[in-house]
Amino acid sequence: MRVIGLKCRVCGREFPNAPLYACDNCFGPLEVIYNWEFIAERTSKEKVEKGPKSIWRYADLLPVDTLKPVDLGAGYTRFIKADNLGEEIGLKNLYLLDDSTNPTYSFKDRVVSVAVTKAIEFGMKAVGCASTGNLAGSLAAHAAKAKLPSYIFVPRGIEKNKIIQAVVHGAKIIEVEGTYDDANRLATEIAEENPEWGFVNINLRPYYVEGSKTLAYETVERLGWMTPDQVVVPMGSGALLCAIFRGFTDLERVGFIDDNKVTLNGAQPRGLPIAKAVKYGGNVEPVKKLETIVHSLAIGNPADGIFAKEIIKKTGGSAEDPSDEETVEAVKLLAKTEGIFTELAGGVTIAALKKLVEDGSIDSYDVVVAYLTGNGLKTPEVILNYIPETIQIRPRIEEFEKVVVA
C-alpha cells in the first residue's frame, strides 16, 4: 500500500488513513505519510512515460490504492515554451503550464480527481466542498461521473459561468451570503455533522491537495526530467504552492531528480494575506473584506498561508501582489502574445512574473515555469469592462473600407 496514514504538519502526531483533517493535539492540518520504499520499488521514469496522458501517469506517487480512479482526463495539459511572452517581458527560457485546457477548465480537476477517488475508496455517500468557483464545476463534474450527489457552497456573487457549469452537472449549489470564508466556515460545520460525506477540501483535504503535486511532476517530466530554476504560482489559500513544493521534493525522494533547488514565487491579488506578509513583512494576518476582481483567489483566511510563506522564504523566492488593472493587462498581454486566454488568476500570475523580472528576482536566462490555472471564459464579466468594443457596420463593403481599413 502506498499510504501509511496521516501526520500533523505542525506537531507530527500520526493518524490512520481516514477522512480526518485536523490534529487533536494541536489542531494543525494533516498530511499524507507515504510508504516511500514501496513506491520507489514500483515507480520509474519509463513507467511514467508509458502511462496515460493524465495525472494518473503518476498514480504511484498519489495517495490512492484503488485501481480505478474517477477520471475525466485531468492533467498532462499543454506545456509550452512561451517565446513571444518571454521576449515581451525579458525572459529567454519561459515555459507555461496551461491548465485552462483541463476537462472542466481549471487545475482543480487534478485535486478533485484524487479526492473523489478517495471518497469512493472510503465508501462515502456524497461529496461536497466550499469553493471560490473553479472547484465547484470540477467537483460537480467528477461527482456526476462517480454517481455521487454533491453539495457545493460558494459565496454569493461569483462569476455566472462557474455557477452554470456546476449546476448543469446536477450539483446542489448553495450560494452563501458573505465571502468565501463564510461559505467555508458553514461547509466545515456541515462536514462535521456529516462524516459520511466527503468534503473534498475539508475532511478529504490531506488527500485532495496531493493532486496538485502533479503540476510539479509534469513540469519536470516535460523539461526532460530537469527542474526549472524558478516557478510562479497563484495563491488563494496557499495549498497549491505547498503541493507544488512537495511535488519537487517527492521526485528527489524517488530519485527522478538529483536535488530540489527550485525557487518558488507566489502571486496573489493586492491586499490578500500571504503575498502581503511575504512582500511587506509581518505575519500572515487574515483580512475580512476582500476587495479584488479575482474571485478565484479571494480567500481572507488562508489555511496554508504560514506554510506557503515559509516555503517561499526557504527557497529564496518572493511574492508579488498585482493590482486589478495590472492583472487585466497581464491577461491581455498573454492572450495577445501566446494565444492563451486565461482567467484572472492567470493574469495575477503573469503580472507577478513580469514584476519579478523587472525587479531582478528572476534572471533573464533562468528557466522559469508559470502556472496558468484557469480558463478565461470562466471570468468574462470583468474582462468585458476592459476590452475595446466590437466594430459594428451594415453588410456593405464600402462601410468596411470606411470604418475598418481607413
Partner: protein
C-alpha cells in the same frame, strides 16, 4: 445560555460536541476559562500558547470570526452560539 459547538478534533478531550453554558454577559476569554475548568488543563494547554489562541483554531460567535469582533474580549449574550472550528480553506 450560550450554545457551544466543538469540532470532532476536540472529542478526545471533551467527549461531547454540543453543550450549553451559563456565560451570559461574559467574554469569550471568560467562556474559555469555564471550559478549561470543565475539561481540565489539557484543553487549555492545547488551545492556548503564551496567552494567545493557537493559530489553527478559529472561534466564531454567531458565525463571525472573533478576530473581526473583539477577540477574546468579545462579549456574549443569551442565545449566542460559539463555534470552535479548525482552520481549513482552499478554493
Amino acid at each position: 445560555m450560550i450554545r457551544v459547538k466543538f469540532p470532532s478534533a476536540f472529542t478526545s478531550i471533551t467527549k461531547e460536541r454540543r453543550i450549553e453554558v451559563e456565560a451570559d454577559g461574559k467574554t469569550v476569554g471568560e467562556l474559555l476559562d469555564i471550559l478549561f475548568e470543565r475539561y481540565g488543563s489539557t484543553l487549555r494547554e492545547r488551545l492556548m500558547k503564551d496567552g494567545e489562541l493557537v493559530p489553527f483554531i478559529n472561534i466564531f460567535v454567531n458565525g463571525e470570526d472573533i478576530r473581526y469582533l473583539n477577540g477574546l474580549q468579545t462579549e456574549l449574550k443569551d442565545g449566542d452560539e460559539v463555534a470552535f472550528i479548525p482552520a481549513v480553506a482552499g478554493g
